[in-house]
């Protein structure tokens, strides 16, 4: 009897624990997520926005045919349920999800995909990502629920590029920049510039039962201290870009959850290869040996960074292990290379940075200090962000620069737009027919083995020619109140709140 009794008690306890577990994990509905944005967004229009913050907002409003998984290594269905790729790699046929409606009540069909595609590819429209689709020869809609893309040549990264094809409704009368309409879990409500952006739960969202939150409110708060205090006092319940020096403190706070990933956010030291002395590859290589990457990771990132050699992370399938540890901190070697290049007494040059990226100014200071040891005199120039973009990116008026770069899934993302001739993001103006050809071939190669071999060569070239040398991969760090559940961090700075709920 006693024995049975004890067993029963144990059984009851187990049941209670199990139920508690189940209930604890069951998402609850309601609540508002108040999110700090690192800065004001440029535009809500997903086809025009070029900022990380813009993307962090609109990715909750609009969707694409496919979306990357959290590891960023494969594409998953979103507005397409499945797809087939022809043997020759030239035809992609997508079956669209049925029963999906836009926030304005309009049903989603193939006409919307074609409308969105044509909007991006319209030569008169300043689309941010038109170059992602230059290989598309034709787009067709055989019926309401099917879309077919015909490519001019096989392009291994096509599926991952399709994420940029954000779908908006086929309706010219909608002013996308003022009132973005999509199929996503949240509908755009209002944007008071400089103050807040509000999104509301979309009750007819296709993914049953989601989302859980009633609303998401974004507030641009560039000042770190303000952001942290508001998170701790409850004015905010989600922040990104947590300052590195505060990570340890926040992790100890039981009222908060800290999210960290080492992803594709990276810093580099780039050179204008059109200007002496940086037209000489030996000089550029020498700069690679002037960077004390461990000291930077320690002093500037409080250890939340790892030394980097190249854009693509070391965990990526296309990373070339042969280049690991090429550039170390070795001023003597740098001096040797400079002497070989014909600058035995060093030279003077400027480093252009922006106060928008204060950590990069610190890196410039440490590099300048290492330079002084071998006669290289770097003058640091801080430019307001839009001036920086104008001088460095648009005009190419700089000697060297340091800036943060984020993003990339397919190896093409890490190399083509940064190093191909004529690309806007080829800040360093390094361009040779050989590298162009390798980048183009790598796009066209269909098997992963073939592509890997080409990307290995591309990395070899970039390490030797060094139009830029890398400094560190940075950890991305976000934090929320501990009752915010279900957030999954990717290696990019994504903030998608479809699965997020508040335990209240």
């Amino acid at each position: 009897m006693r024995l049975v009794g004890q067993n029963t008690r144990v059984f009851i306890v187990l049941i209670v624990v199990a139920l508690g577990f189940v209930f604890a994990q069951e998402p609850k509905y309601g609540g508002t997520l108040t999110v700090a944005l690192h800065g004001e967004i440029d535009t809500i229009d997903p086809h025009q926005s070029v900022t990380i913050v813009g993307n962090q907002v609109y990715q909750n409003i609009v969707e694409s045919l496919v979306t990357p998984n959290a590891n960023l290594d494969a594409m998953e269905p979103e507005l397409a349920t499945d797809w087939t790729i022809s043997e020759d790699g030239l035809t992609y046929t997508f079956n669209l999800r049925q029963g999906v409606t836009f926030h304005n009540g309009q049903p989603f069909t193939s006409a919307d995909v074609i409308y969105s595609y044509n909007r991006i590819m319209n030569p008169d429209f300043p689309a941010a990502d038109a170059s992602s689709f230059t290989m598309v020869e034709a787009i067709e809609a055989p019926d309401e629920n099917t879309v077919v893309f015909k490519l001019a040549y096989p392009f291994g990264a096509f599926l991952s590029k399709l994420e940029q094809l954000w779908i908006i409704p086929n309706d010219e009368s909608i002013d996308v920049e003022q009132n973005l309409v999509g199929t996503g879990p949240f509908a755009f409500k209002e944007w008071i510039s400089g103050d807040h952006i509000t999104l509301e739960r979309f009750a007819n969202y296709w993914d049953n039962g989601k989302p859980y939150l009633d609303a998401v409110v974004y507030r641009p708060i560039p000042e770190d201290a303000t952001k942290l205090v508001e998170l701790q006092t409850g004015g905010l319940n989600f922040i990104s870009n947590v300052p590195y020096k505060d990570v340890a403190k926040l992790e100890q706070d039981t009222n908060l959850t800290v999210y960290r990933t080492l992803g594709v956010v990276r810093d580099h030291f780039g050179f204008n290869v059109n200007k002496p002395p940086f037209d000489n590859a030996l000089v550029r290589q020498a700069m690679g040996y002037l960077i004390d990457r461990e000291a930077i990771a320690e002093a500037i990132f409080e250890g939340h960074a790892q030394p980097a050699q190249i854009a693509i992370p070391e965990s990526h399938w296309a990373f070339n292990p042969a280049i690991a540890n090429t550039y170390t901190y070795d001023p003597a070697k740098a001096k040797e290379l400079l002497t070989e290049a014909g600058y035995p007494d060093g030279f003077s040059a400027t480093i252009k940075v922006s106060p928008t990226y204060p950590l990069e100014i610190k890196m410039a200071e440490l590099i300048a200090e290492a330079g002084r040891e071998i006669g290289v005199n770097f003058e640091i120039i801080q430019l307001e962000w839009s001036t920086w973009i104008d001088e460095v990116v648009s005009k190419g008026d700089f000697d060297t620069e340091i800036v943060l770069i984020s993003g990339g899934m397919d190896p093409d993302d890490f190399f083509y737009q940064w190093h191909h001739s004529g690309e806007v993001f080829n800040l360093w103006r390094y361009s040779t027919p050989e590298l162009d050809k390798m980048l183009e071939d790598a796009r066209k190669a269909s098997s992963q083995e073939e592509r890997k071999a080409l990307y290995y060569q591309i990395q070899d070239t970039l390490i030797k020619e060094a139009p830029m040398v890398h400094i560190v991969y940075n950890e991305s760090i976000m934090a929320s109140a501990s009752n915010v559940k279900g957030f999954v961090m990717t290696g990019r700075e994504d903030m998608t709140f479809k699965d997020v709920w508040i335990d209240q």
């Binding site: 201290a225 020096k245 002093a299 106060p355 100014i361 610190k362 640091i380 801080q382 307001e384 001036t387």
Partner: protein, 280 residues
């Protein structure tokens, strides 16, 4: 009693003004002998000694790159004083010239010059300095030019007002009727008698220049790293206000004391030069 002796007596009775002079003299000594006074190289980092609180090795602690804040403040005094002096010389020379021409000749020239100062006055001072910096590009030298330009209308107005008072004095009329040329009258009779207000304004303008240099460097537009400007130290240190308060406290104190001292001197000068102040 000669004019200067009278002035000195009046000024030295004002103990606060003397304190101001003492602080500025101390600052001058720091600026002139910085390399001998500073215990460390102000731009040399030392990662192993980062964010150390004030100790006997580092009187004012260290910053996030392990640089000695005491040494940086001593070297920073050079930048602050340099900016103050050069900016004020630009502003006084150009401003006085405008004020003299406008005040002495009057008429169309007066209207034209005063409308120009009106235009400059229409902009808030710091905003105008930021706009000028945006055109010239960031550097310490450009800060001097920007602050100089911002202060030109103030000196122009003050000079013009004093000139207007002096111009109608009997001795000026006498000189004119004797056939002395304008240049002679301006330099011999007018300027010396119109200087008092300008002298008072100079100390206040220097304080303003030092504050604006700090503000512009705080915004990244002024002195560029790694050079130690008090303003840029504040700017970078503010992110560490809770963990390393010494990093912002000491440059903040340096700015405060300097500006305070210059204002004390300005007050003292005004009292000493004002004939209405009764000498007890």
């Amino acid at each position: 009693m000669s004019g200067f002796h009278k002035f000195r007596k009046r000024f030295s009775r004002n103990h606060l003004a003397v304190l101001g002079v003492a602080i500025i003299l101390l600052l001058l000594v720091c600026a002139l002998f910085a390399p001998w006074l500073a215990p460390y190289d102000p731009i040399k980092s030392n990662i192993r000694a980062r964010l150390e609180p004030p100790t006997l090795q580092h009187f004012f602690g260290t910053d996030d790159l392990g640089r000695d804040i005491f040494s940086r403040i001593i070297f920073g005094s050079r930048i602050s004083l340099q900016v103050g002096l050069v900016a004020v010389s630009i502003a006084t020379s150009a401003g006085m010239l405008m004020g003299i021409l406008a005040g002495y000749f009057g008429g169309f020239l007066d209207s034209l010059l005063m409308r120009i100062t009106d235009i400059l006055f229409a902009f808030p001072a710091v905003l105008l300095a930021i706009a000028i910096m945006a055109v010239l590009g960031p550097s310490t030298f450009n800060v001097m030019i920007a602050v100089g330009i911002v202060y030109i209308p103030i000196f122009a107005r003050i000079t013009r007002a004093s000139i207007l008072v002096v111009r109608n004095q009997d001795y000026v009329e006498a000189a004119q009727s004797l056939g002395v040329r304008s240049a002679g009258i301006i330099f011999r009779h007018i300027i010396p008698n119109a200087l008092d207000a300008v002298i008072v304004q100079i100390s206040l303008a220097m304080a303003f220049a030092i504050l604006v240099e700090a503000a512009l460097s705080f915004l990244g537009l002024g002195t560029q790293p790694p050079d130690p400007s008090w303003g840029s130290m504040l700017s970078f240190g503010r992110q560490y206000m809770l963990e390393a308060p010494w990093w912002t406290l000491f440059p903040g104190l340096a700015i405060f004391l300097t500006v305070f001292a210059l204002h004390l001197i300005g007050d003292g000068l005004r009292d000493a030069l004002d004939p209405k102040t009764v000498l007890e």
